[in-house]
Symmetry: C2
Subunit: 340 residues, 2 copies
């Protein structure tokens, strides 16, 4: 085979010689594992004697490189986290690329190597994939879809259905809110803004696994991506018919993110995170859960940010620092498209 | 909730109110099933005591509506077929949409309802999904990714690895070649061309299952999509180090497809199919396999098109109607981008 072209050509997506070259020299080289190397139409997975969790996400983030990560790292973290918050151990990932003709091969390599590194960190294998190339101008650089399969081999809490949430349960987050959304905003707009703002993009599965393995009392988990913490809590409040009170003074927000939000008129509660998990837990287990999370690099700033209340079923209420209260509703417009 | 907007807005992809509305009124309504309705970050699948097959494909076809199907039907068929040719029973599908701002809601509904209908035909459930909306001009109308999970509950032939292919084995196809690619070409270019040319887009899993359940001797299967039959057979010849001889007079080609190919200088062997399977089988089982396939609506024109030969290992040879021979190589350029 020849050396790799320095730009993506339409023929890299046609099923022929160039596509084979791209698969061999970029995808197989970085994602190297025996299942993927079979190069069948479908990956055949080893037997697993548990129920499986299955999820998918497409990533269309702009810009594709940002402080704290890139579209490839994000595509692994996002799918790993969706599985982890469902109570599954993430195992297998598919990776499907839609690439604009003319996209630099070196950028693709950087993205794919980030994916491979993040998959290794998270303990998952990329086992199957697909590549499509579209003519210049028909997509914006590169879109990546990842689907993931996890094993429900941990405690069989039906976390996703939030079975037994009750008044007094605490709401925990593993750190500052809105870092990802504001980092993307900053990278996109090229603000002249001194404070560093870095995406929290990270795979949370190992921390979550430790919490679930070593504690009881976790009742619900969700990663607050698009729409932020406010959206996750609104969905929960509506679905379970409970009230939720947040304590403004307890909400962890990074200094740079807060400054950007104030400047631009955003509320960090609505801004996307990519390395955060919101946990609803029994108050009796709260200290133990927080203890485990704070020992993890991804949970150093873990905090209790609110609780389930009797009043205002279906609503999320913010107790402001000044002692007042206001409702936190579902997002209506879209202040920040393409942040993931 | 309000009535559905008539065009896709950026806010249909932001995780907030509009996105919930779109999920409820379009995706859940059409894909209705108890697993999807959980609306968790990941779908939790029932226990399965077999090995699983896992595949993914992104669809970027242009035009999105074409004679014989649309991008949605194709997205289901493509993933179902990838599982089926791997020897798996397709069970669960994920559906992820990247939609251009301003896309007509009625077109989305048509596409989603086609997907739901095809999923029902093929006996698979759409259990998880994702929606992203990008600004106008940042993608071409709509791209769809489907990933699929199947159960290796049929005979445990490692079909994908084509274990024991040997000289004399027959090569079977279930009908005419190149229908999909030429139908797309015709739809795209708006040729003034009288003969109908219709995509073969179809889910082959039920026919394949019958063949595998009722016969022995299938050694390899692959759906000849991008790159066509020539590409599948070249991959096989190279991977297994065997020679393949095709008989030109036996190749089934629709009259309209042949006329278009002649007009445009294409070879139907290289044109994409979306409802075809190439089977390599023991010659002793050939009649039985053909018998089953010909009784199926999707296999009426099934034919033996060639055989495995001793000579020319790694090569595909065409015995022409005039008695000559020529090599059929891997595709190099891309005559037809975005046909799937």
């Amino acid at each position: 085979m020849n050396t790799l072209d320095d730009k993506i050509l339409l023929s890299h997506g046609n099923g022929g010689l160039k596509m084979h070259e791209l698969i061999e020299k970029v995808f197989l080289r970085h994602f190297k594992n025996t299942i993927l190397e079979e190069q069948s139409d479908a990956a055949i997975l080893p037997e697993n004697h548990h129920r499986m969790a299955f999820t998918t996400d497409s990533f269309v983030i702009d810009p594709i490189f940002f402080p704290g990560g890139n579209i490839g790292k994000l595509a692994i973290c996002g799918t790993v986290n969706d599985l982890a918050v469902s109570g599954a151990v993430p195992l297998y990932i598919s990776a499907s690329f839609i690439i604009e003709e003319g996209f630099p091969m070196s950028d693709l390599e950087t993205i794919v190597s980030s994916m491979a590194r993040e998959a290794k960190n998270a303990g998952v294998l990329v086992v199957t994939g697909d590549t499509k190339v579209v003519n210049k101008g028909k997509c914006d650089k590169i879109f990546i879809n990842t689907a993931g399969i996890g094993s429900m081999s941990m405690k069989d809490l039906s976390i996703s259905t939030a079975g037994n949430i009750k008044t007094g349960d605490v709401i925990i987050i593993n750190g500052t809110m809105g870092d990802h959304g504001m980092a993307i905003m900053k990278a996109r707009e090229n603000f002249n803004f001194k404070l560093p703002v870095i995406s929290d993009c990270a795979s949370l599965n190992l921390m979550i696994r430790e919490v679930l393995d070593r504690t009881e009392g976790v009742k619900f988990m969700r990663d607050p991506t698009r729409g932020g913490v406010a959206t996750v809590l609104n969905e929960l409040a509506k679905k379970k018919g409970v009230g939720i009170e947040l304590d403004e003074s307890a909400l962890p927000v990074d200094q740079g993110v807060m400054a950007m939000c104030e400047l631009l008129g955003f509320d960090p509660l609505y801004i996307a995170n990519e390395g955060k998990v919101v946990i609803v837990a029994d108050p009796d287990e709260c200290d133990k859960i927080l203890g485990i999370m704070k020992k993890n690099d991804l949970g150093i700033k873990s905090a209790v940010i609110g609780r389930i209340i009797d009043d205002y079923p279906g609503k999320v209420l913010l107790k402001t620092s000044s002692g007042g209260h206001r409702f936190i509703d579902l997002l209506t417009g879209d202040p920040l498209p393409r942040i993931c």
